[in-house]
């Protein structure tokens, strides 16, 4: 039984919707970080005390979920559906193989730990 990790970089205001959607399909845990970056969207200009400057890195939220690979397809589809606005800057999803997982409290391993 193989584990995989989904890393989804999404628009920050979409976090709540994505979390709700994932919970609905039975996913029991995820990790979130505030990140910054750019893709084809690039940055934008801001102004401070009369001088313009470019913000290259835009704020995004990164969601990490580790799942049995049978669940991956459904989870990805759920994230895509919830996070999509159709405008540039919606983000990206990466899927990465995971060696193993351990629950610290019980020391369970593999699929039981996620």
């Amino acid at each position: 039984m193989a584990l995989k990790k989904i890393e989804a970089v999404i628009k920050p205001f979409k976090l709540e919707e994505v979390k709700e959607a994932l919970t609905e399909i039975g996913i029991e845990g995820l990790t979130v970080s505030e990140v910054k970056g750019f893709g084809r969207q690039k940055g934008h200009t801001e102004i401070y005390r009369g001088s313009e400057y470019t913000v290259d890195f835009l704020p995004k939220v990164k969601i990490e979920v580790v799942l049995a690979d049978t669940l991956i397809e459904k989870a990805v589809a759920t994230i895509v559906k919830a996070a999509k606005t159709g405008k540039i800057g919606d983000g990206k999803i990466f899927i990465i193989p995971v060696e193993d997982a351990i629950r610290i409290r019980t020391e369970e391993k593999g699929e039981k730990a996620v």
Partner: protein, 468 residues
């Protein structure tokens, strides 16, 4: 300037915003000022028949208001700390707060040691005093008469000291924001000591100590310190920034690269604390609880602050296409500094005009100083020096004292303070630079003065503490 010209100028500057004020008569300021204290004294004739001083009750009320005012001016130190911290980067926060904590401490101690008696030396012109420099004694002491109305109808000797000491602390604190994020702490503290202990009180004695500027044919007028406090601090800030140079990365390849402040909420809190403190700064400068003058002063102070905020906010909106919060905040402070020289001499319309013009001036001044590479992270030079000069000159243009002779006296004062304070600050900074260095290393500046100067962080937690 004639009355109708004033009104045309007013209409141009403030337009519809102040339409409702334009009809209000500007009579109070014109009538009130000099005679007011005397009027208060006359109002209580029965209580102290032998010396015609105020009643004990009136003296107590006066003195209480002056102590409250001193406390309000003291509170301004927190306002400065918030503004300066908010408009600079988080890596220099401990350093800014340290300076803001220690400057008033030093200021009060040095004012007790010598400042008070340098500023109020009791120039005895019959004994040949020159009105430029005098010194009464070291330390502060008084006799039994010093704590009664025999000392002054408005306050005791101790209240007098405390109120004035708070002003001294304010003047030096102005410098710390302008030189922030690159000045060596030790050099700054020595500067603060020397400037606060000697330069501020000597300069102050020229006017408030009944020195030569108070004895011109048309005396120079500075009600609460547009020049004596704000410009005096502002000139030192300008000298400091010129000698220090800009922060690393501010001007690259001939372009301005803005360095963002790290907390706009903190900067905003600071500005409102300063506005509150200004009720004591200007309201206490009436030097008694005189109802007419104190209430007028609080109104002119607030109208000018409000007009400054609106003007700077609107100008930034028009010119930059977006309203800039830090400019609006600077505008409020500009209005406050601008009204300070004549807060008891202005009507409501005059005050509004002074504030609005200050708000416009501060906006363009910030842009101009940036253009000529005078790097002032918080806009202290524009707010305190430039608008201090405007407010001082405004006494000769608007309000009860307006007139050619007054304007000449105001300009004389501005120039005299400018020459003395700028040169004095320049000399102190240059000597410090030669003897011990003025600026931290480039490495320390990049890493932040919190670690470099203090070995501390302002925000040490990796992530906010949470329950569970």
């Amino acid at each position: 300037m004639s009355k109708w010209m004033k009104h045309i100028a007013a209409a141009l500057v403030v337009g519809a915003i102040t339409w409702s004020l334009a009809d209000a008569p500007c009579v109070m300021a014109q009538d009130a000022p000099a005679e007011a204290v005397a009027a208060v004294v006359e109002a209580a004739p029965e209580a102290a028949p032998e010396d015609a001083g105020p009643s004990v009750e009136l003296f107590t009320v006066n003195n209480t208001w002056m102590m409250v005012a001193a406390a309000l001016v003291f509170f301004m130190n927190l306002g400065f700390a918030c503004v300066e911290t908010g408009l600079t980067r988080s890596k220099n926060t401990v350093n800014i707060l340290f300076k803001n904590a220690l400057v008033p401490c030093l200021g009060i101690l040095t004012y007790a040691l010598c400042g008070f008696n340098l500023m109020y030396p009791g120039f005895d012109y019959d004994a040949g005093a020159n009105g430029w420099f005098g010194f009464a004694q070291w330390g502060i002491t008084t006799d039994a008469a010093g704590v009664t109305s025999a000392y002054n109808v408005g306050y005791t000797y101790w209240t007098d000291f405390l109120f004035q000491a708070m002003f001294a602390a304010t003047a030096v604190t102005i410098v710390s924001g302008a030189v922030a994020e690159r000045i060596k702490l030790s050099s700054f503290m020595i500067f603060a000591f020397l400037y606060g202990a000697f330069i501020y009180p000597i300069a102050g004695s020229w006017k408030w100590g009944n020195g030569w500027l108070n004895n011109l044919e048309t005396p120079f007028y500075d009600f609460a310190g547009s020049t004596l406090v704000h410009s005096v601090g502002g000139w030192a800030a300008l000298a400091g920034v010129i000698i220090l140079g800009p922060r690393l990365g501010k001007y690259v390849d001939g372009k301005i690269r803005p360095i963002l402040g790290h907390s706009m909420p903190l900067a905003t809190i600071g500005v409102f604390i300063l506005w509150l403190g200004w009720f004591g700064f200007n309201g206490g400068s009436v030097l008694s609880a005189d109802p007419a003058l104190v209430s007028l002063t609080l109104v002119t102070t607030s109208l000018s602050a409000a007009a400054g905020g609106v003007a700077a906010g609107m100008v930034s909106w028009i010119i930059l296409k977006k309203p800039d919060l830090s400019m609006a905040l600077n505008g409020i402070l500009a209005g406050l500094v601008g009204i300070t020289a004549g807060a008891d001499q202005m009507g409501s319309l005059d005050a509004t005009i002074i504030g609005a013009i200050a708000g416009v001036i501060v906006f363009f001044s910030v842009l101009l100083f940036d253009k000529i590479k005078i790097d002032d992270p918080v806009g202290a030079i524009s707010v305190h020096l430039v608008c201090g000069i405007w407010g001082t000159l405004a006494v000769g243009i608007l309000g009860a004292k307006a007139g050619g002779a007054q304007l000449v006296s105001q300009a004389t004062g501005v120039i005299a303070y400018g020459v003395f304070c700028f040169i004095a600050a320049l000399v102190i900074f240059l000597v410090l630079k030669m003897v011990m260095g003025l600026r931290v290393s480039a490495e320390e500046e990049t890493e932040g003065l919190d670690i470099g100067e203090h070995g501390q962080e302002a925000y040490p937690d990796f992530s906010p503490a949470t329950k569970g």
